[in-house]
Each structure stands twice: as C-alpha cells, then as structure tokens.
C-alpha cells in the first residue's frame, strides 16, 4: 500500500447510520483505491500533474474550525456555503427546490458511479471519505441564482471531500455560480454531479480564486438529456495545485453544451484542466473554448477530449485552446483530442501557444500607452473575452475586477 493511500484513505470510519447501498458504495471505493492506488507519472491522464505536494504535506485530518461569517457576495441568491468542507444548509428554499443528504436517497443511481481506475482515484477517495454528501433538486425555472461558495480557512491544513449532486427536472432551468475560495495548505477534493433532465438548462459559472498554497482537486460529472443545455464558464485565478476534471455526457439527441474556460497562472501555480465531452446520440452539440495565461514558473495543462460515438450522426463539435506563454520558466502542455465514430459530423479543433501580439503592443505604445501598461492591457484582454460571458452581471464585474487585480 502506497504512502498516499495510507495517508488519505485511512481506516474505515463508522459514523452516521448509512443505508446499505451507501455502505456498499463506500466499500467498493476502498477496494478500488487499495487495488489501483493513486495516479503516478505513468498514468496518461496525470502525466503532467504530480502528486508530490500531497505526499510532502502532512494533510492531517481536518479539525472543525468555528464557522466564520460569509464574505460579501456581489449579488444575492440561494447560498450553499461550504465552510471547511461542511455545508450550511440554507433556511429558506425557494419553491421547487429541495436539498437533502445523499444518504437519504433511495439508492446509488445517478449519485455514485463506477469511476474507473487509478486515474479516477480522487473520485473513489471522495466516495470513501465524504462526511456528508448533498443532493440539490431543482424542479422549475429559478429566478435567483444558486451561489455555491467553497471556502477554507487560512489555518486549514487537512483534507475535505465536499460532495454535491445537482438535479434539474425536465424543463427546469437555473444559474449556478460556484466560487472556490480556499485558503490554507490543505486539500479540497470536490466531487460534483450534475444531471440535466429533458429540455432543462443550467448556466454554471465557476471561479477559482484560492490562496497561493491551496490544493484543489475537482471532478464534475455532467449528464445532459435530450434538448438539455449545459453551459460552463470557468475562471482560475489562484491556487497552488489545481486539477479539474469536467466530464460531460450528451446522452440524447439535441443535447448541447458550451464550455468556456480561462486559467491565469503565475508564481508556482500548477493548473490542470481535463475536459471530456461524449456525444452519445446525434445530433448533439458542443463548443469549447479554453485559454491559458502563464507567467512566472507556473505550469498549465489542458487536455480536451471529444468523443462522437457511433450513431451520434449529425453532431457538431468545436474546440479551441489558446495559450499565452509569458515567461521562459512557465510551461504549458496542451492536447486537444477528437475521436469520431459517427457520420455527417462537423468537428474542428485546434490549439495554439504564443506570446503577446507584438503588432498590438506597438499599436498601443504608438498611442502613448507605456509598454508595461500595454502588456497588462493585452494580458487582461486575453482573459477578459472569457470572463465577460459570466452571468449574473454582478459576478462578471466582480470577477473582472479580480482578474485586473491578478494580472499586473
């Protein structure tokens, strides 16, 4: 048994009374971890992202610190406040919304999956170790956004495994604004499941503005039924080690998704985004646009995979990844992958790595803008084009401001 398994998986905990299906799911997760262990340099999906930091840090079991007041948010909504991994269940729920512990669900269907081998170790780990998982059911069109705030304190040095499944009933729609604001040196190992019913829609905007020491591993599994629409916009501005796996399964005809992301990495940050979109039935649609802005000694990884399965005829898919490498010590590894087994598919993908546009730089300078300011403007502009799509607008403006604070 590897040191990481020993450290992170630990002993079986007999805690709350849990139904048999959940006890069994947790055992299965343990078995998977004991059998396969954690990814290493030979694990294809992890070859650029090492877990050395997790080995080095003590990552003691987290102590429950006293809940601090919620920071001011740019706008109101239904707040799901995860403080050091623990959800504060909101008192007032709008009509058509229900939230309950995962253990109260009827069974594992749609809540616990067969995650895979060692590349999926953190999903297994979350399953084995989460303290309390939650299910958010949305039955109708919500007028106010759901605000998911995930924060840890500066003295947080442990490991937490927050877990949330969001389910949208047919024809329901909602905005989900997620803010990852972890501080401290501990590890947040998030698992989110999102299930979109027929003709439902979720606009999910994610901000990661964690502290320079924070470790964040996230997996987000999404299924979209016929006519459903999932839009994801992701903005990474901080963190020490960030790994995000986004898996979108378009399981019926006319399902679609739009994925936009930008990561701004500086200092010693290591940010890794793996996205996978499966077109199972045609026609289904996906569009992906991911950007990386790397300075200092930072490292970025983008792996975007799109699979158009046999029978998903008439699907359309487009993926683009653009990166700016602004320092000779920074590094980016990008790999767009496209696999097509269907007919009549329109698909395009591309990736670029470049520097700031010298023509644009000269144009700005020729108008009187000093070189350093011109560079900053262009860097911000590169990221802005993604951040500007964020809604509600109050969050867009707040995140643009944060962006301006990070890119100097």
């Amino acid at each position: 048994m590897s040191a990481l398994v020993e450290k992170l998986v630990g002993e079986e905990t007999g805690g709350k009374a849990e139904p048999d299906w959940l006890v069994e799911a947790r055992r299965e997760a343990r078995r998977a971890l004991m059998r396969d262990g954690f990814p290493d340099a030979r694990t294809e999906d992890w070859k650029y992202t090492s877990l050395k930091l997790l080995e080095k840090r003590s990552l003691t079991e987290s102590e429950g610190t006293e809940r601090e007041p919620l920071p001011d948010l740019p706008a109101g909504g239904l707040v799901l406040d995860f403080f050091n991994g623990r959800l504060q269940v909101p008192d007032d729920l709008p009509a058509g919304v229900r939230i309950y512990p995962l253990r109260e669900a009827q069974g594992p269907k749609g809540l616990v999956g067969d995650y895979g081998g060692r590349e999926a170790a953190f999903a297994w780990l979350n399953t084995a170790r989460f303290e309390e998982g939650w299910v958010l059911d949305i039955q109708r069109e919500l007028s106010e956004p759901v605000l998911l705030v995930s924060r840890t304190t500066a003295d947080f040095s442990g490991v937490v495994h927050p877990r949330l499944t969001v389910r949208l009933a047919p024809d329901a729609s909602a905005q989900l604004v997620e803010m990852q604001l972890g501080q401290g040196s501990g590890l947040c190992n998030w698992l989110t499941g999102i299930e979109l019913g027929r003709d439902s829609r979720l606009d999910h905007c994610r901000l990661q503005h964690a502290g320079n020491d924070s470790l964040l591993i996230q997996r987000n599994d999404v299924t979209v039924a016929g006519g459903g629409r999932y839009n994801w916009i992701s903005v990474d501005l901080g963190g020490r080690l960030g790994r995000h796996d986004l898996n979108i399964d378009l399981i019926e005809a006319e399902a679609g998704c739009q994925v936009d992301g930008v990561f701004v990495a500086d200092g010693r940050a290591h940010l890794d985004h793996h996205t996978r979109i499966d077109h199972r039935v045609g026609p289904s649609y996906s569009e992906e646009n991911f950007r990386g802005l790397l300075s200092g000694r930072s490292r970025g990884v983008f792996n975007g995979k799109i699979v158009v399965h046999k029978g998903a005829d008439g699907s359309a898919s487009e993926m683009n990844n653009a990166n700016l490498l602004l320092s000779e010590h920074a590094e980016i590894d990008t790999k767009p992958e496209l696999e097509i087994y269907a007919d009549e598919v329109t698909a395009a993908h591309g990736a670029t790595v470049g520097q700031l546009d010298s023509d644009a730089l000269f144009y700005l300078q020729s108008r009187g803008i000093p070189a350093s300011q011109a560079r900053m403007l262009l860097k911000q502009a590169f990221a802005r084009t993604i951040v500007e799509k964020v809604r509600p607008e109050a969050f867009r403006d707040d995140w643009l401001e944060r962006l301006a604070g990070v890119v100097e």
Partner: protein, 255 residues
C-alpha cells in the same frame, strides 16, 4: 519640427530606406507618394519607433529631440501620431477605454492633469460625430470586426482626440467611401494650425484636392527622388511611375 537627415533604415537586416532627407516645419502639409514597396510605410513605422526598424545611418530629430533615443510611447507624448495603413485589431480591449488610457498616459507624461471619464466621453463623442462614426464602435473592442473604412475613421477619431503635433497618415484615404474621404479631409483641416504639421502618405490625388499639400515628395527604392508643389501630384496621377524606369525625373519633366 521634424528633421530627417540621410536616414537609412533596415528591417530584419535588409535595408529599406537608403538616405532620406526631409524637413517638415510647423504649419506645413507634406504629401509622400511613390510606388508600392518603395518604403513609405517603413518611414512611418521608423518614425513611430517600431521594434526591428533599425536606424543604421543618419538621424531624425523631432521637436528638438533625437527620436532614436525615445520609446514609441515617449514619441507619442511628444506629439507624434501615426495613422496606420493597417490598423490593428485588439480583441478584449474596449475602444473608448483604450483611447482614454492613451490620452491620459500622454497627459501624464507631459505633466498635465488626467481627464475624467465624463469630459473624455464628451470629447470622443464630438470627434466621432464629426466623422460620422457610430457611437457603438466606441463600445466595441479596438478595431475588432470593423470594416476597412471604419478602421480608418477610427484612426482619425484617435488623431482628433490626441491632438498630435505631427500626424503621419499612412494611406488613410484607401478604402474610404467618397463621403468619408471628405470627412477625413475635414477632420485634418480642422486640426490644421500654425503649430501642427502633417505627412500624408497617399497614392491618389483625391485626398490632396481637399488637403492641398505645401510639398509633394516621391519616394522610390528608399530615397526621395523628387519633390515639388501640389502640381507634382497631378502629374503623377496622369503619368504614373513609369518615368522612374525611363530616365528618372528628367523624363517626367520632359513628358
């Protein structure tokens, strides 16, 4: 105001300008003509301070300062403006914000007070209205998706707001419709004053009909081969540049 002496400029190691002499005084309008590839834009870029445009011989002074010593933004603050032949698209940078940053950076460099957003907006709206440029273009990203003519108008709006001492207009007339040409000419004429000067690079007589240059120069293979009054432009319009190959300026004058 501008004094160019025996200027040689190399781009990526190849010599493009080969000994240019030109003096422009306050209040004057100079036209620069010449065949494609003769080095007109290169001169504009070299004056504006583009990287990789290396002065290998000669000198340029502007407002009493040696230009070679100055960064592009310092030249701009001194009052040099280049309207680009091909204005650059900058996605993600708001046009109005860009222009305000430019104006305030120049003012700051000159020790003047910065302009608040209300006064700025008034200024830029006036400039845009004078050129019949739609307000919505100010809210868009710099030149992104602008039509050819819109880009050229945007250059002139910038000029009107920045109020340079010397404006170099590099083929600002190309791609403009007839009304726009007139508006651009008007824009320039409005700025004309005894303490400003213009260097107008063009292929056509049309713009010069409105601007009436004091001097016309012909650039060929990196040198000014002849200079004259506004009539020179008329003769070029008739005769083209074949005379350059057929015996030089004498052939032009004889014909």
């Amino acid at each position: 105001m501008l004094k160019i002496e025996n200027l040689h400029v190399a781009v990526n190691g190849s010599e493009i300008l080969r000994g240019i002499n030109l003096e422009i005084n306050a209040g004057e309008v100079h036209a620069l003509m010449g065949p494609n590839g003769s080095g007109k834009s290169t001169l504009g870029y070299a004056l504006a301070g583009r990287e990789d445009y290396e002065i290998t011989e000669g000198s340029v002074s502007f407002m009493g300062k040696d230009l070679e010593e100055l960064e592009p933004e310092e030249r701009a603050a001194l009052g040099l403006f280049l309207a680009f032949q091909y204005p650059v698209e900058i996605p993600g940078v708001n046009n109005a914000y860009f222009l305000r940053s430019a104006l305030n950076a120049q003012r700051k460099a000159r020790g003047e007070e910065e302009l608040d957003s209300v006064s700025f907006l008034k200024l830029v709206r006036e400039a845009a209205a004078g050129l019949d440029m739609d307000d919505s273009l100010l809210k868009r990203a710099v030149n992104e998706g602008f039509s050819g003519g819109e880009k050229k108008r945007n250059e002139i709006v910038q000029m009107a707001v920045l109020q340079p001492k010397l404006a170099i207009l590099d083929e600002t007339d190309s791609g403009l419709d007839i009304d726009a040409l007139q508006q651009v000419a008007e824009g320039v004429n409005q700025l004309r004053s005894s303490d400003r000067a213009f260097l107008v690079i063009t292929h056509y007589q049309r713009l010069l009909d409105h601007l009436v240059p004091d001097y016309v120069h012909v650039l060929s293979e990196g040198r000014i081969v002849t200079s004259g009054g506004k009539d020179l432009a008329h003769r070029l319009e008739e005769k083209g540049y074949a005379w350059l190959r057929e015996g030089g300026v004498k052939a032009l004058e004889a014909g």
